[in-house]
């Protein structure tokens, strides 16, 4: 009986430590696979008429925004490190001024700072919410 307990203990120890070692070694890969993958774009300082010499009016693609009356919600990704592709998601409220087939013209709302440098999320592989961690995927364009 004692010998059996010893044998089971050794087997369990080997399995436990091997499992933890494998999970640690592949932790970055596993974490990246499980994170929502998002694609981002930047806003353009302009209005729908094409005026660029303006203040606090931005054009953003329609896929970026969730509209609710005269306001909308956008999500942007802020990279955790400058060179890494991992980021935290933050929510931002904007006021909608107008729209055409492709774009919404928006401005700052409730004191939120909207700038052209924000990485606006237009596509995500999973549902995201404020404060989530995500992985930014670079858009691949055909050379043609």
């Amino acid at each position: 009986m004692r010998k059996k307990i010893k044998k089971i203990t050794v087997v369990f120890a080997v399995v436990f430590f091997s499992l933890v070692a494998v999970l640690t070694y592949f932790s970055d890969t596993i974490d990246r696979m499980l994170l929502p993958q998002v694609k981002t774009c930047e806003a353009v300082l302009s209005d729908l008429k094409g005026n660029t010499r303006i203040y606090n009016k931005y054009l953003i693609p329609k896929s970026v925004i969730t509209v609710d009356g005269d306001t909308g919600t956008v999500y942007y990704a802020q990279r955790i490190t400058d060179s890494g592709d991992e980021a935290y998601v933050y929510q931002l409220q904007v006021s909608i001024i107008g729209s055409d087939e492709l774009y919404y013209e928006v401005s700052n709302s409730n004191g939120d700072m909207f700038t052209t440098s924000l990485q606006l999320i237009y596509s995500t592989s999973k549902n995201i919410s404020d404060g989530d961690r995500v992985y930014i995927v670079e858009e691949e364009f055909d050379e043609e």
């Binding site: 010893k6 933890v20 932790s27 970055d28």
Partner: protein
């Protein structure tokens, strides 16, 4: 009358067991709760227990999923604990057994006076030696390395005292017989002494493992890089950690000492006597 006494004795024992097992059962139960449910019952920031719940409303492996798949920092801290503990245990057992053999069976000048100094070291609390050790580590330029925690843990007065008592039980006649047969002291140590102090070695291994595995003060003082902190510090840092994850980490943290105990359970029962097999 005898039966009533026996029942009363068992009731007391069961109650005592329940009291000692409560923290482990509580940790296990909470590790299978969802984070929202744990936050409902605990509030460490206000230092209040809202309620004690040992049965999860909804059984969930969310905390384990977070620890093993999403939060690599806890796995890395687990390995930091292993890196600190494993060499400390191995080296301490080796050095303590050699020193204990010398103090118990070899004859050399000032032997008993030196052993008295070891006993004095045993009485010193850990906190007393932290600052002198820090200065030594600083001079050796090994601060903020794992060696700064491993080295002081390697030499233990307690280990030497424990093993010296075990070795004292071994008769001089077997050692003298081996000497007559031409065996060196190293051969006597490995072939005669070690097999007979198995219980003491396993006891020392387990106690050193638990001591080193749960070290908090030394890494906090000797390490400036928080990435080198062992899991024991994270478990005690309840203010900055996620409650649910702490419980799951606690279960992971509990497994290695438990495995060592189960492995050496038979030998640990008799640290001052010879092994049952002999």
């Amino acid at each position: 009358m005898k039966k009533t006494k026996s029942v009363f004795k068992y009731i007391i024992l069961i109650l005592l067991t329940a009291v000692f097992l409560f923290p482990i059962i509580y940790m296990l139960a909470n590790s299978f709760m969802q984070s929202g449910e744990i936050e409902k019952t605990l509030n460490f920031s206000e230092e209040t227990f809202k309620s004690v719940n040992l049965i999860p409303d909804m059984f969930s492996a969310e905390q384990y999923y977070e620890v093993f798949f999403r939060r690599a920092e806890y796995l890395l801290k687990f390995w930091n604990s292993v890196i600190i503990t494993l060499p400390t245990v191995i080296l301490q057992v080796v050095f303590s057994s050699l020193a204990a053999f010398a103090f118990a069976k070899l004859k050399f000048p000032f032997r008993d006076k030196l052993f008295f100094i070891y006993i004095v070291l045993l009485i010193l609390p850990l906190q007393v030696t932290l600052v002198p050790n820090y200065i030594v580590m600083d001079n050796l330029k090994i601060l903020n390395t794992f060696l700064s925690v491993i080295l002081p843990g390697t030499f233990s007065a307690f280990g030497i005292c424990l093993l010296r008592q075990s070795i004292k039980y071994i008769s001089y006649s077997s050692i003298e017989a081996a000497r007559i047969d031409g065996a060196s002291y190293l051969r006597i140590f490995t072939r005669i002494i070690i097999p007979q102090i198995k219980g003491g070695l396993v006891t020392l291994t387990l106690l050193t493992f638990i001591d080193s595995w749960s070290a908090v003060e030394q890494p906090m003082i000797y390490f400036t890089d928080k990435g080198m902190y062992p899991l024991s510090i994270t478990l005690s840092d309840i203010a900055d950690s996620d409650y649910g994850i702490i419980f799951a980490c606690g279960v992971m943290f509990l497994i290695p000492p438990l495995l060592i105990y189960l492995y050496g359970e038979n030998d640990i029962r008799s640290p001052f006597t010879t092994s049952d097999k002999l």
